[in-house]
């Protein structure tokens, strides 16, 4: 008898029995053992995998390993209301954005969730910026009523702080207080220009307050390209990239 015949024969014979007990699976789970492997420097690499990605890597590295600047410290997100990475990110975007539109009052070009990697101490390569800001988001300038801006302040305060530049505040009981924009107290009756990204403007990362701008301007500059430009400009001026916690957002 062939295997196929046997199976057919057996199915025919056992079908009625199978129907009788058909409401249950056939094996009961009796035990689970769980573990996780940490993939660290002790694990050896599979050369077959490296062989597959090597041609891509070589082409990529030729482009991405170009050194475009230097930092004096690791820039990272941390868990505070402000971070060295967030401050650098927002300052760099505001600086480049103002070259196109000098009337920008302040910047929130990303949420903390959008900062995807820290920047290392020492040489900054193009790849570092791609890993920090891998998305293709575009910079926008929105002209907003004070009441809408208040919603953005609410978002920043409720989420415990976001990367900003040109604005300072103290978060108290999840509310933004002592808000200063461009060195002047926030005035509900005024309009303000905010530099942000198309992603945030569309309510990305559950942000809110930007749905009804009086005016919307597309700068034609991607967020990542603004960062790259800023780093390259600093480098050409002989400056090292640095960032401090300067108390722009405090929590009390």
């Amino acid at each position: 008898m062939t295997k196929k015949n046997l199976q057919g024969w057996q199915a025919l014979l056992f079908l009625p029995v199978a129907l009788l007990i058909s409401c249950k699976s056939h094996f009961d789970l009796v035990k689970a053992n769980r573990q996780q492997y940490n993939i660290n420097t002790n694990v050896s690499a599979d050369s077959a995998i490296i062989k597959t990605y090597l041609p891509y890597k070589q082409k990529m590295d030729a482009e991405m390993n170009a050194v475009i600047g230097k930092t004096d410290t690791v820039l990272f997100k941390g868990k505070g209301a402000e971070s060295t990475l967030g401050n650098f990110f927002a300052d760099a975007c505001l600086s480049e954005g103002k070259k196109i539109d000098p009337n920008i009052d302040f910047a929130m070009p990303s949420t903390n969730g959008g900062l995807r990697n820290s920047l290392p101490k020492g040489n900054l390569m193009l790849s570092n910026v791609f890993e920090l800001m891998p998305f293709e988001n575009e910079l926008l300038v929105l002209r907003l009523k004070g009441t809408d801006l208040q919603e953005i302040l609410k978002f920043i305060a409720q989420s415990g702080g976001q990367p900003v530049s040109g604005i300072t505040m103290n978060i108290k009981d999840k509310t933004a207080t002592a808000v200063m924009i461009g060195g002047k107290p926030f005035d509900l009756g005024k309009t303000y220009s905010i530099l942000t990204s198309d992603y945030i403007a569309g309510g990305g990362d559950d942000s809110f307050g930007m749905q009804h701008p009086i005016e919307k301007k597309v700068l034609g500059l991607k967020v990542r390209d603004a960062l790259i430009k800023y780093i390259k400009n600093q480098t050409s001026e002989g400056k090292i990239i640095t960032a401090k916690l300067d108390g722009r957002i405090t929590k009390n």
């Binding site: 007990i21 094996f27 035990k31 769980r34 573990q35 940490n38 993939i39 690499a45 995998i49 198309d198």
Partner: protein, 312 residues
């Protein structure tokens, strides 16, 4: 009649694989079934985010960790040692290194195919180059994309995904289905287009019921990109586990949660639904070994103990 069956059955055993097929049909006798144990090994990743190479040795917290080539070594080792292995991913394959910016996910998917992934689900970042961007990489995938709560029928991906797949491993039937996160507010509308998000709890209950009862799976696994848990009242893996039944394991993602150990939650049936998530970037490879005992013919037979150890 019975006697001749017994004789024939011995022949089946000798025929190797046939014996297992017999068990699947439901053996009314206790002849060789008693105490039969089957073992299944699940290996899993989530949120690998285009991390092809290990993190560079640049002084960062993650330096030296991860890397697809190292993961592959571990996977190959487990496959040599274990007969029944399933390798699964819970989404966000894309985005995070220049590999994605330059090659659009081609490298990620090709390497997953090479490592022999059995299935993956869609994460929000898998839409970062639009639905078309993911669709374009599908020819590089030799594994199915499982997603049950996105209606993609008005998109280019309308024939590209499956709600679930049943894997047969050594006589065991394992039902695996995919659940995605609400894309609104996470992904730009232009990138997810006409994808319609459907209630993950309702969908999971529907699919898990079908897999466990109608299709008689011995184990039901949900690949979820909902996220482990949220402070606010938002659907997550923890909520999903509590409000569903028939799911044995939720392999989670999205929140990049490094869990000290898998979490066991009592589901709607008062049974255990386990949640596991292994951080992100391919820093860890999760492993769960499941042991099954064959039912001894009676519908009502219950096995008192489901033993769980956080060690292999």
């Amino acid at each position: 009649m019975e006697e001749s069956l017994r004789i024939n059955r011995r022949k089946f055993i000798k025929a190797g694989g046939i014996a297992t097929t017999m068990l699947m049909v439901g053996n009314p006798f206790d002849v060789f079934a008693k105490g039969e144990i089957k073992k299944l090994t699940i290996l899993h990743t989530n949120d690998v985010h285009s991390r092809i190479e290990p993190f560079p040795m640049d002084g960062g917290k993650m330096q030296g960790l991860g890397g697809v080539a190292k993961r592959s070594t571990l996977i190959k080792k487990v496959r040599l040692e274990e007969e029944n292995v399933l390798l699964l991913d819970a989404g966000d394959i894309f985005q995070g290194t220049p590999y994605f910016n330059l090659y659009g996910g081609e490298v990620e998917i090709k390497l997953m195919s090479q490592m022999g992934y059995d299935a993956a689900t869609l994460g929000n970042h898998d839409f970062d180059n639009g639905i078309e961007g993911f669709y374009k990489q599908l020819p590089n995938a030799n594994f199915p994309i499982l997603i049950s709560n996105y209606d993609l029928s008005n998109t280019i991906m309308n024939k590209s995904t499956l709600p679930y797949k049943i894997f047969k491993k050594g006589g065991l039937k394992i039902g695996v289905f995919g659940i995605g996160i609400d894309l609104a507010g996470l992904v730009e509308k232009k990138n997810y287009g006409e994808t319609i998000y459907q209630d993950p709890i309702q969908k999971s209950n529907e699919i898990a019921e079908r897999l466990k009862h109608d299709l008689k799976c011995d184990l039901v696994i949900c690949l979820s990109h909902l996220g482990y848990s949220y402070r606010e009242n938002k659907v997550s893996d923890k909520v999903l586990a509590k409000q569903t039944k028939n799911i044995d394991l939720i392999i989670g993602g999205h929140t990049h949660t490094f869990m000290a150990e898998p979490e066991d939650i009592l589901n709607l049936d008062g049974k255990i639904t386990t949640i596991n998530q292994v951080g992100w970037a391919g820093i860890n490879l999760g492993r769960i070994d499941y042991y099954f005992e064959k039912q001894k013919g009676s519908m009502t037979k219950t096995f008192g103990k489901y033993e769980i150890n956080n060690t292999i």
